[in-house]
């Protein structure tokens, strides 16, 4: 077990080195995508369109709001999509080498978590540039990011387990993820739907995560114990369900891929 998790680290490290092998910019690509995102949200939304939230006194307030939510969402949805096809991608290995499949799943989580961290660091640098206060409260980001990644792992594994049985899920999951994205206050503010569709916020597990990032970025507001407990419960129960299903289904999956 421990040996296999160590292997996940090795795989994650290698994948990291290899993803952009042969490209001239090399590992700089890892920085490029979050940088471009930050650029779009500042220049387009704040400078061109002059979109501004009047909730805090910063001309880049909307950009700050967007970046906090989008970076969290990007990591979350990437993990789900990557796990979703993992049985097919790794079929050639699963069928020939005696390595448990969860090793590959954990390696995905590790490398995505690392990328998530990079993008968060870039986001914080951006905050400093636009003179948004960065306080010790920002340390709360670390546990929240970890819990979010565990949630993504659990959910991603559950979807991944069913995909070999219904190949349609390969197509359905990306669409569902899109719908989920727009059902979460990331681009718009939660106030805009809080009165008309309160249930969307209440029963959307990702809302409980994203609002914590937004509060930290905009107001340096630390999450309450209750909020942390809530997301921990969501993440751990999802993960437990995932583990239960994994044990039950993985043997059969090996026979059919």
């Amino acid at each position: 077990m421990i040996e296999n998790i160590l292997k996940s680290f090795l795989f994650a490290k290698r994948e990291f080195k290899e993803r952009y092998v042969g490209t001239s910019l090399g590992q700089f690509w890892y920085l490029l995508s979050p940088l471009v995102m930050i650029f779009i949200y500042t220049v387009i939304f704040s400078d061109f369109m002059k979109m501004k939230l009047n909730i805090i006194d910063n001309s880049y307030s909307y950009s700050i709001y967007l970046i906090s939510g989008l970076f969290a969402w990007t990591s979350f949805s990437t993990i789900i999509m990557r796990l979703n096809t993992i049985f097919f991608e790794k079929a050639h290995l699963i069928k020939k080498v005696n390595i448990p499949i969860y090793t590959f799943m954990i390696s995905v989580i590790l490398s995505e978590f690392f990328l998530f961290s990079i993008s968060m660091v870039l986001a914080i640098i951006f905050l400093i540039i636009v003179s948004q206060p960065v306080t010790l409260t920002f340390l709360w980001l670390i546990p929240i990011m970890v819990i979010q990644t565990i949630f993504a792992l659990g959910l991603g594994v559950i979807f991944a387990l069913f995909t070999p049985f219904f190949k349609d899920l390969k197509e359905i999951i990306p669409i569902l993820t899109q719908l989920w994205f727009w059902a979460t206050p990331i681009i718009y503010l939660s106030d805009m739907i809080a009165n008309r569709y309160p249930f969307i916020l209440k029963y959307n597990p990702f809302y409980h995560f994203v609002k914590l990032y937004q509060n930290i970025f905009l107001y340096s507001k630390a999450p309450s114990i209750k909020e942390i407990l809530l997301i921990s419960t969501i993440a751990s129960s999802t993960l437990l369900l995932a583990i239960y299903l994994y044990k039950k289904m993985v043997g059969t999956i090996k026979d059919i891929i």
Partner: protein, 402 residues
């Protein structure tokens, strides 16, 4: 008693066949049964000892690959258990887990990690691996540019230098050229001396006889025989010939025969005295039976045979006339002519051509001639080993003359 390195205990593997994947999923969670069963392995048990090479043979679909995959841990058995006392490396298919975009060099690390080596272990062996693979400078090229033989060489080199306690080789050796496959055979024997155990699956009966200490014969998912290679392979040959019986043992095809057809060759068969099939050891006594039917009264006739190798070269031919037999046929009578001889020829595949004619050769009144009336294979050597196509049985003497 040598140490056991692998214990396979009562392995049964049942593949469930479903109408669709929905049924499969329903069955995981509900109690109801939705499947038909296909039994790939039934109650298979054996032990593998240190330094032993165990061969597994069987017809296609006998369950060889399934049991190998279970031993390698790639699929799970329905019942039973495999106890491994050491690292198992499996060469299940060529190029296991190669990343085609990456160079051969990087793939050694990738593949090595997958089969359980750590980085320092690979560091210390990478030069040996590259040297053994004979890839030279190509090792720095991406694997996608390799020929299948090159990829196989690399895969084999990594596997053998990973120093597994148990190595599973599934038909891998048959792909390389003669030079590399003999190098592999040598390397396997050497490793065996150190203390590696090997499970070897192949349809190449000759290499099985050379490499294996013990052979297991699978048929329809069950072990039907186990023991000395020679014996078990004969049993296997018997299974094959039964299979051939069931389809069409068209030994005499009307199409393949020509001549005046005054005499018809009805059936030609060839069987080793010990193997009871047409796969015969070199040096084994074999019997050729030719059944004919004459449509006319004919006298002073001859029945002849010719053994040809797979290139169509004449290896040996004889006929009844050379043996001073006078054959006279009566109208509408059937006859059997038997040739019994020791097959002192080298390993390989051969065909048998038969003919009925008068006088010494078929240029005189050829009644019936069938090319390739039957095929046979020489696998393994009885008695002293030799190379080449004929066994000259030398007496060898060596003495000190000083």
């Amino acid at each position: 008693m040598r140490e056991k390195v692998l214990e396979v205990k009562n392995i049964t593997k049942i593949y469930k066949i479903y109408r669709d994947n929905l049924d499969r999923l329903k069955e995981i969670f509900l109690k109801k049964k939705y499947h038909k069963e296909f039994i790939a392995n039934r109650d298979i048990s054996f032990d593998l000892y240190q330094k032993e090479t165990l061969g597994i043979i069987g017809l296609n679909g006998a369950g060889k690959s399934t049991i190998l995959k279970i031993i390698a841990g790639v699929i799970e058995p329905t019942a039973g258990e495999v106890i491994r006392h050491g690292r198992v490396t499996a060469l299940l298919e060529l190029g296991t887990g190669f990343n085609l975009e990456m160079s051969g060099y990087d793939n050694i690390y990738l593949n090595g990690t997958l089969i359980g080596m750590n980085k320092s272990e690979i560091d210390s062996k990478i030069d040996d691996i590259i040297e053994f693979s004979e890839l030279g400078e190509y090792i720095y090229e991406p694997v996608i540019t390799y020929s299948s033989g090159m990829a196989m060489r690399l895969a084999f080199s990594i596997a053998i230098f990973s120093n597994p306690e148990i190595l599973i080789v599934d038909e891998a050796l048959s792909v390389g050229d003669a030079h590399f496959s003999s190098k592999c055979t040598r390397a396997l024997r050497e490793r065996k001396k150190q203390n590696m155990s090997i499970i070897y699956v192949s349809h190449d009966l000759n290499s099985l006889k050379i490499l294996c200490d013990r052979v297991i014969l699978l048929n329809r998912g069950e072990i039907v025989d186990r023991g000395e290679p020679e014996e078990v392979i004969n049993h296997y040959n018997f299974l094959i010939s039964k299979l051939n019986d069931r389809d069409n043992r068209v030994v005499s095809t009307p199409n393949g025969s020509f001549g005046t057809l005054d005499v018809e060759i009805l059936d030609v068969s060839m069987e080793g005295k010990e193997s009871k099939s047409n796969i015969i050891s070199s040096g084994e006594r074999a019997e050729i039976k030719i059944k004919i039917k004459s449509k006319k009264d004919l006298s002073n006739m001859t029945i002849g045979i010719m053994v040809r190798d797979r290139f169509g070269q004449d290896i040996f031919g004889t006929n009844t006339k050379y043996h001073n037999l006078e054959l006279n046929f009566k109208r509408d009578r059937e006859y059997i002519c038997k040739f019994e001889m020791d097959l002192n020829i080298g390993v390989g595949k051969y065909t048998l051509t038969t003919a009925v004619h008068s006088s010494f050769d078929h240029l005189n009144n050829c009644s019936c001639w069938i090319d390739n009336a039957c095929e046979f294979e020489i696998a393994g050597v009885k008695g002293d080993f030799f190379i080449g196509i004929c066994r000259l049985e030398p007496k060898i003497e060596f003495k000190d003359i000083a």
